[in-house]
């Protein structure tokens, strides 16, 4: 059998624990981006922007999606759940502002409704898939449509603005060191932003914590191993005594809850909700998980891979905006893709990444 370069590289690198193709791809893409747009790309602010975007625009939801796809399913309703969370968050803030409730009561109710609603969707998805044995694609397409309709009905199709200060601090706050040595945590704007020596936004830290926690759940708990087992071979798993239905149910609920957390954070960063806030996000989330090496058919995957997939996508979006700028190397070339060409470039790159990720079927 002919050995491809990938095979050789793979053999060499698989000696190094946990490295898979997508991590290599990520390093390559970072290197290329640094070269192509040195001044703009390789600075701390840009890196933090990218990590912010990774976390907010589907990152935490992708953690849940990884579990679902490893278990052999899929969940198209995550974007609608994200939107729902942002929607409820803004709604309760406006109720509080209008004097309807005290702040504490409003926040508590908001959290109950958000996570309760997400859990209901997750249970609905799980129940229809496991007990009625309907295809996950169809079930979650349906729940996505229903929940999108609910979202529209809640705001009557309108935008809604404003979130609790507690949440907007989380969404836009950073650990900040100023030039004069002061340190504080909070949103940084205007004059303060010009005095910043170094800052770390909170959102990526939250994202990384979730990643670490759920990586442990996936790799080191009984539940996590059962998720892999179901995805690998559901029949064998059932015969060996694993309660397949219950594991599936838990996984869909987990996915919906994580999507709700993501939506809450996104709403806290935008400080607003619009009906098309999370339009198409489910596709980005799924693309990131697949690029990250999780197979569509299930049984294989990792959180680390998903993180790399997410970062690759966000770097691509970032580079499309930044364009090519070789002025740092003394070459006077500066170019950014024309407006109408961007969509095309995005699609080509995603297709390319997915093709690179294919597993030879005879392995």
């Amino acid at each position: 059998m002919k050995r491809t370069i990938e095979d050789n590289m793979g053999k060499w690198l698989s000696g190094i624990r946990g490295v898979n193709k997508v991590h290599i791809a990520l390093l390559v893409i970072i290197a290329v981006s640094v070269l192509l747009s040195f001044k703009s790309f390789s600075n701390w602010t840009n890196a933090m922007n990218i990590m912010n975007n990774v976390s907010l625009f589907g990152g935490i939801a992708a953690i849940g999606m990884t579990f679902v796809i490893i278990s052999g399913g899929i969940d198209l309703s995550v974007a609608a759940v994200m939107g729902f969370a942002a929607n409820i968050s803004c709604n309760y803030y406006n109720i509080y502002k209008a004097g309807g409730l005290s702040e504490g009561a409003a926040i508590t109710l908001m959290l109950i409704v958000t996570f309760g609603g997400a859990a209901v969707i997750g249970l609905l998805n799980g129940a229809l898939i496991t007990y009625l044995k309907i295809e996950p694609f169809i079930v979650t397409l349906g729940s996505m449509t229903v929940l999108s309709g609910v979202n529209l009905w809640i705001t009557q199709g309108k935008n809604i603005n404003g979130v609790f200060e507690f949440f907007s601090n989380i969404g836009t706050g950073s650990f900040t060191w100023l030039n004069n040595g002061t340190f504080f945590f909070g949103p940084v704007t205007g004059e303060a932003a010009r005095q910043v020596a170094f800052r770390i936004p909170l959102v990526p830290i939250i994202f990384i914590v979730f990643c670490i926690v759920f990586n442990i759940v996936l790799k080191r708990t009984v539940y996590g191993r059962r998720v892999f087992a179901i995805g690998g071979n559901a029949e064998a798993a059932k015969l060996s005594g694993i309660k397949v239905d219950r594991i599936r149910l838990i996984t869909y609920v987990l996915c919906a809850l994580l999507a709700a957390v993501n939506g809450l954070l996104l709403g806290s960063w935008t400080k607003a909700y619009a009906p098309n806030l999370t339009l198409g996000f489910e596709l980005d989330v799924i693309a990131a998980v697949i690029i990250g090496g999780t197979a569509m058919k299930g049984g294989l995957g990792s959180i680390g891979g998903t993180i790399s997939g997410l970062i690759i996508l966000q770097i691509l979006y970032n580079m499309i905006n930044l364009g090519i700028d070789l002025s740092a190397f003394g070459i006077g070339l500066s170019w950014a893709p024309e407006t109408y060409v961007r969509q095309f470039i995005k699609g080509v790159i995603i297709l390319g990444a997915v093709i690179m990720q294919r597993r030879p079927s005879n392995k």
Partner: protein
């Protein structure tokens, strides 16, 4: 087999009889039976003897502008119905689907209406029902989106190309004021790339800016008419460019998001800002002086189309295309439009 065949035949016969009985005469007797066969620039009808029934066919309410547009029109229709100015109105929501809108509009025609006010989902798919209405003597007012047939009384629209030109020309003036000559680097925030408003507004902007080669559109980020996308895209643009003289934005909501990004990056440039559309958040920024001006794309469009239709019914003649006046909002007149204690996402005009 025979029994079911008979049953089917009976059912079909029943259906035909019922529909034949259901053909009620049109409620208004004012439509003259002989209409000119070929379209003429203005079709006037004898004033209605009894209050008319209005038919409104809307492509969709799939974005906040359209929601506000229908809300304003509905408010007026309800008011006129209560005061007896109109007898009743029917409403069809096409949900951005041609077939759905066409079928619903046909139903309205069959029920009998005296005026059709329609925003077609796409250019040619609604021509059939528009022509049917026109040929049967019902005046047709098309608004917001074009149709490709000629058989309508008037097309009511805001000239978005002109909006783009006005926003760009103002930016030229601001840059000349600041730099002594029309030069500078500006960012032009795009609406949803490929949509009608984005194409028209950018066309207008390019029309003006092509005359001033020293003004460079250094970046055209796509905000998709959304706050969050505007913030995200602007953050990247700010990373790339250290000095931005001004911003022209196709979208008020996108601009509000972009300015949040400017604040969070602590930038002091990007001082000169013009915008298109009347998002309340931008109006508030005009009041505070942050944004220079905006050029409205009124959500009143549906309401104004209906009012033009009422004029036709009362015998007035109208132009083939009715351009609503382009309205510039700046510090001098913003008080007429802004709702300071209202939500940012309101469309007030």
């Amino acid at each position: 087999m025979k029994k079911s065949l008979i049953a089917v035949v009976v059912l079909i016969a029943m259906m035909f009889t019922l529909t034949a009985c259901g053909q009620a005469p049109a409620p208004s007797e004012s439509t003259t039976p002989s209409q000119p066969a070929s379209p003429s620039p203005s079709v006037s009808i004898e004033p209605a003897k009894e209050p008319p029934v209005i038919g409104v066919s809307n492509a969709s309410v799939s974005n906040t502008w359209r929601v506000a547009m229908w809300d304003m029109l509905k408010e007026q229709l309800d008011k006129d119905k209560n005061s007896g100015l109109i007898k009743d109105y029917y409403y069809v929501d096409g949900e951005d689907n041609d077939a759905k809108q066409a079928a619903g509009t046909e139903d309205m025609l069959n029920k009998g209406i005296d005026l059709l006010v329609i925003a077609p989902a796409t250019e040619s798919a609604l021509d059939g029902v528009i022509e049917k209405a026109y040929d049967s003597g019902v005046p047709v007012v098309v608004f917001d989106r074009r149709c490709t047939t000629d058989k309508y009384n008037t097309f009511v629209v805001t000239d978005d190309v002109k909006n783009g030109e006005m926003a760009a020309q103002r930016m030229v003036d601001l840059l000349t004021q600041k730099n002594g000559a029309p030069k500078g680097d500006i960012v032009v925030i795009q609406g949803w790339v490929g949509s009608g408003p984005q194409i028209d507004r950018q066309k207008g902007i390019d029309n003006v800016l092509s005359k001033y080669p020293d003004i460079k559109q250094i970046s055209q980020p796509d905000c998709k008419f959304q706050r969050s996308e505007g913030k995200k895209a602007m953050a990247d643009v700010l990373t790339r460019f250290n000095k931005i003289d001004g911003i022209i934005s196709h979208s008020g909501e996108g601009l509000c998001g972009a300015l949040e990004a400017v604040d969070e990056a602590g930038r002091t440039d990007c001082q000169l800002i013009t915008c298109i559309d009347g998002y309340n958040g931008v109006l508030k920024l005009i009041k505070s002086g942050r944004v220079d001006s905006t050029y409205l794309f009124p959500a009143r469009l549906g309401l104004d189309a209906y009012l033009v239709g009422m004029k036709i019914l009362s015998g007035e003649s109208v132009e083939k295309t009715t351009y609503l006046p382009n309205i510039a909002v700046n510090k001098d007149n913003v008080d007429q439009f802004v709702k300071m204690d209202g939500d940012d996402g309101l469309w007030t005009y």
